[in-house]
């Protein structure tokens, strides 16, 4: 039994930490956020050079290895830095779907350019009436010779504005809630009939509502078997869920550190407020939450890397998302409260970390959703 990082994982962690120290302080991040693209393409090319974009992919796909524990290492560092580049949307989600379902030709057509930094992806999976149910798909794709005609609407498509291609879950047969009958299509973002309503998310990422009106997609751009895509989609979303859990661990650690530092320097009533035992205990509580959250994320990452069956893996991910969600609420709210008024200003990083972790709690199923899923599995 050994929970320490391997040499490669250590190097990966160092690599991200060095980059963040040199290029990603809070002011630099703010400039990137307010830029047109909402992220830095220069940074993205650097990520490619540093090999980070290969982390989610197996060696079969010329990747770093594809281990969930490797993903956990990088995502935690991204969380501390509040990285806004679309690593999750392109490399983890989009790349993950191509890797799971793509034929060798389809993979060759996408993964090398993704890993070298020239391809951006977005995954259009969620729908307005579906809440968190990936099986609830009303976007239809009806066959028309060697094409599908796609009609429907997807919500919260992360990175859609920058994406070259969209991975879209569509219903090729069955009723809206049927588990079978869902297919995954790779759609050119510039295709006729694809319409984006773009916006930033409350934590500063780029996204869009995407509608499809009579969009013609070649059958050759279907990934995997027709009607059988759901299990793979769910598995990739679970991996992305684990990734944001790891990101949250980093962000929460940062919130705790900053809160401790602040209370040591903020003086009221003639003393640093860190001297008040009531506040010390609350910071101890934050620490407990951070440690339990970290522990359960390690459990989930290791389970995904083991030969545990799909049910055990889903259970592990839901346990992590549920527990991390609870920790997020506690650590986030306490960090803001202990900073007083400045905790909710745009100027200080604490408020931004708080927003990011709050969004993470909402993504891919909130705490109640995952607690219920864990309970059912």
């Amino acid at each position: 039994m050994d929970f320490s990082y391997s040499e490669e994982q250590q190097m990966l962690q160092d690599s991200v930490q060095k980059f963040v120290q040199r290029h990603y302080d809070f002011d630099s991040r703010r400039k990137i956020l307010t830029s047109n693209a909402g992220f830095s393409n220069e940074h993205w090319q650097l990520f490619a050079e540093l090999g980070w974009l290969t982390v989610p992919f197996s060696t079969d796909d010329d990747g770093f290895g594809g281990l969930a524990t490797d993903l956990m290492v990088v995502m935690e560092e991204f969380g501390k830095a509040m990285l806004v580049e679309p690593f999750l949307a392109t490399a983890v989600l989009g790349g993950g779907l191509v890797s799971e379902l793509g034929s060798p030709e389809q993979k060759a057509d996408a993964l090398p350019s993704l890993m070298s930094g020239s391809l951006q992806l977005a995954s259009a999976l969620a729908e307005t009436n579906a809440r968190y149910n990936l099986a609830s798909v009303a976007t239809t794709a009806r066959g028309d010779g060697d094409h599908y005609i796609v009609d429907g609407a997807k919500t919260l498509v992360l990175n859609a504005p920058a994406a070259h291609r969209l991975l879209v879950s569509v219903r090729t047969s069955g009723e809206t809630l049927d588990l079978s009958g869902i297919s995954l299509l790779l759609v050119d973002k510039e295709a006729e009939g694809v319409h984006l309503q773009t916006y930033a998310t409350v934590d500063g990422f780029q996204a869009a509502e995407v509608t499809f009106e009579n969009v013609r997609v070649p059958v050759a751009q279907r990934l995997g078997e027709e009607g059988a895509a759901l299990p793979a989609i769910a598995a990739v979303v679970d991996r992305a869920t684990l990734a944001v859990c790891a990101e949250a661990i980093g962000a929460m650690d940062s919130l705790l550190t900053k809160t401790v530092e602040y209370t040591k320097t903020r003086r009221q009533f003639g003393t640093p407020i860190a001297a008040f035992q009531a506040l010390q205990h609350r910071m101890a509580d934050m620490f407990i939450e951070c440690q339990l959250a970290r522990s359960i994320v390690m459990m989930a990452a290791m389970t995904l890397d083991s030969d545990a069956d799909s049910r055990q893996q889903q259970r592990a991910v839901s346990a992590a998302k549920s527990r991390v969600g609870r920790a997020i609420r506690k650590v986030g709210q306490e960090a803001v409260q202990l900073h007083g008024g400045i905790g909710i200003t745009d100027e200080l990083d604490v408020g931004h970390l708080f927003k990011r972790v709050t969004v993470i709690e909402t993504m891919f199923g909130n705490t109640d959703f995952h607690t219920a899923r864990f309970s059912r599995l």
Partner: protein
Amino acid sequence: MNAAFTAEELEFQQEVRQFLETEFPADIKNKVDQHIRLVKDDYVRWQKILYNRGWAAPNWPVEHGGTGWTPVQKYIFSSECAMLGAPETVPFGLKMVAPVIFTYGSEEQKQRFLPDILASNVWWCQGYSEPNAGSDLASLKTAAVREGDHYIVNGTKTWNTFGQYADWIFCLVRTDPSAKKQEGISFLLIDMKTPGITLSPIVLIDGQPEVNEVHFQDVRVPVANRVGEENEGWTYAKVLLTHERTNIAGVPHSKVRMGKLRELAANTPDGNGGNMLENPVFAQRLAELEIQILAMEYAELRTLAAVSTGKAPGPESSILKIAGTEAAQHLDELFMQLAAWQSLPYVPEQFEDGFTGTPVGTGAAAVSALEYFNNRKQSIYGGSNEIQKNIICKAVLGL
């Protein structure tokens, strides 16, 4: 022992309801229902309608334009307004500086300032907190040095709400740096147009510049603008802080939101063909919060009953700010949970009046994250919940 309103109180409730139904502007009500941000003009318009009815200042003495209502009538009035969604009049003039002026001010000051506050002709903002004086407000350092018949004011105030709209500011300033901190503070009224005053907006994490830093550089303030005695300002300010003993738990507002939350849950798909009100876990959370609000309501009524029978408010009154803000924040959490993915798009312009674009998401869901973020301030301002607990420990539990 009973919690019922008397026949006269019920009649009064009807009178208030009828007034609100006919006089509360439909366009403002629409804005409130659609989560559209109110602007200064909306608040002024509503206060003037109340003013014309003689109802702008329920907490003022009748001689200055107050209503002469009993505590129960005041409670009924503010509850009915909250239930309809009528915005609370911005408190700085009516509820904060005016009581200090009519209690401690000179006749000249009362005549000069009170009528314009009542009619919403003049807007006020507050100059209390400083970057280094938050919970420890008495440690404030903004200085007012006497020079003939003026004070020269230098310093910085922060968390100043709506200063960008205000005509005047009331400030706690240090007039005696050598005295014990609470004993060297004076209460000054300052015209915002006085040379030397500048505002820096502070943007909050919901993207809105709701508050400001106010900088004073060699600002000349007539001594005639000081309320009461020099170095007695802290006493006057403390009176303010204890002035409002009811309606600080925000119960009517929380009850209204609870109703809207329930309605929204019934109309929110659960992703499996049903709705979120049918989800047993969510339904349980709604019930728990509703029960908590009911308990708060009766705590508030206990306080009201004591005050209206001439007794001092009991120890239960010290919990109201804490319980009230926690319930309000809990409501924010549930709205955001209900919205799920729909809480995430940031399209603030869709909450501005006159927006003609395509909104992303609908009303309560679309605004839920921003409200959750912004309302974290409730447990921080007005005497943080930590300070409130200190008061409970000292004043009630004798610790």
